[in-house]
């Protein structure tokens, strides 16, 4: 028993990581279609966007970077498909310097779905300034993009009040800038898609009505896909995430058994090796 406990306590971390990879790949190759529980934030995000009349204009602000791309991989395309289906006009705005590549992806997706630049969407360039930039969109929307050429859609976007919603896909703080400088002062609903670890901090803004919807990580994207009746990569990844969680829970249990048994025998060391 003690030898088993010691082995459990000192197991090479690379074996655990390889196990996680195997479990995740197994679930991706053999999808089982586990159910996706829907949160209040996702429901409200879907209902808010669904209630926009055709022809409304929304800002699709993106501050995705390589560190958050995997978390936003499902929610962004799911929302975009919904907007295109409901014929909502879109202004794509990168709010982070590294987001321009991801905005280009969304633009390509919109084109593939039949949207035309200038009439169905505009692709606004990145501007430095972070929070100051978002605030300036509220106070002087057009003056931020003076060099943009005329187009039917761009000409119809007179100021921030031309927009019915701010959709924010972010791994940082841009949803807070949107709430403070766009949502609250101009009464424009803000729907936010964030990394899963940020959900806890943002729930209060959903409760206070400052956010009209909240999606968290890959699961948030999967929930939005289910709600909009278009299951895609998010739903397909949920089995893998569920299996990954199970693997981690199993390791937690085994690790604790090993630790407690060693502690009882007075040989507990704790920690892991190989890192």
């Amino acid at each position: 028993m003690n030898r088993l406990a010691e082995w459990l306590s000192n197991i090479d971390v690379r074996i655990l990581q390889a196990g996680l990879v195997i479990v995740v790949v197994f679930a991706l190759v053999n999808p089982m279609g586990l159910s996706v529980p829907i949160t209040e934030g996702a429901t409200r995000a879907y209902e808010s966007i669904n209630s926009l009349p055709a022809g409304s204009k929304v800002i699709f602000a993106v501050s995705t970077n390589p560190g958050s791309a995997a978390e936003h991989a499902a929610m962004g395309p799911a929302i975009l498909k919904h907007l295109v289906k409901d014929k909502i006009k879109i202004a794509f705005i990168p709010t982070g310097s590294q987001a321009t590549a991801y905005v280009a992806d969304y633009v390509n997706q919109a084109k593939k779905l039949g949207y035309k630049e200038g009439t169905d969407f505009v692709n606004l360039p990145f501007r430095a300034g972070d929070e100051k930039f978002v605030a300036s969109l509220g106070t002087g929307f057009k003056s931020v993009y003076k060099e943009l050429p005329s187009s039917p859609l761009w000409d119809s976007m007179v100021d921030i009040k031309s927009f019915s919603m701010w959709i924010d896909i972010s791994g940082g703080q841009s949803q807070m800038w949107a709430i403070a400088h766009i949502g609250d002062p101009f009464k424009i609903p803000v729907v936010s898609g964030v990394n899963s670890n940020m959900i806890m901090n943002l729930e209060q803004y959903l409760k206070s009505g400052q956010l009209s919807g909240l999606l968290g990580g890959l699961a948030g994207g999967a929930q939005y896909e289910v709600l909009s009746g278009a299951p895609a990569s998010g739903v397909a990844s949920m089995d893998a995430q569920g299996f990954g969680y199970l693997w981690i829970i199993l390791l937690l249990i085994l690790g604790n058994i090993g630790y407690l048994t060693s502690k009882k025998a007075g040989t507990a060391k704790g920690g892991v090796t190989g890192d």
């Binding site: 390889a18 978390e71 100051k132 959900i199 206070s208 990580g217």
Partner: protein, 203 residues
Amino acid sequence: MTSLPIWIGAILTIGCYSFMFGENVLYSFCEHAMVGFAAAHLLVTGYNNILTMAWNPVFQKGQFIWLIPIIAGAMLYLRFVKPLAWIARIPLAFLIGAGTAMSVYRSLSAEFVKPIASTAGMAWNTPNNIIYIATVLAGLAYFVVSLKEKSALGQGFQKIGKVGQALMMIGFGASLAGNVGGTLSYLIGRMNFLFGTWLGIIK
């Protein structure tokens, strides 16, 4: 046939994961390439910003008001010229002042007053709302340290504070679980790429 960018992406992904077996040449290359690309991207984006927002308006459209940010930006670099380094403090003070004003406005209005007002006005009509309000009150009680420990009121606050502490720990645990979920998302994304886009095993 799988295209060259996908092959490069696959090799770089494997390179990043090779860190599991310790520092190696492929991992170091990936790490340095990432930092290099990010720096290059930032430089080009910054250059474009200056060009489109300030330089072109001044020298092509005669909008001389934009000379002010150009000069202020140039002043920042005077910190490298020792006798004139003090000049760099002027635009820096402006930047810090504007940034602070903006975050004070954001913190007070959006992050402080409105959430508190909303919580104070919340109805005790659903289990979720009751848990929410109880957690806020118990959490606040934990941070009340000015009451005498031996007084009845002080002991009462301490007991409620203990509950608040436990509820906060549950909250932190849920946040950590979210972090784990995020990390899993990265792995799932990369495995989808390797076994789907690259190798074609995942349909």
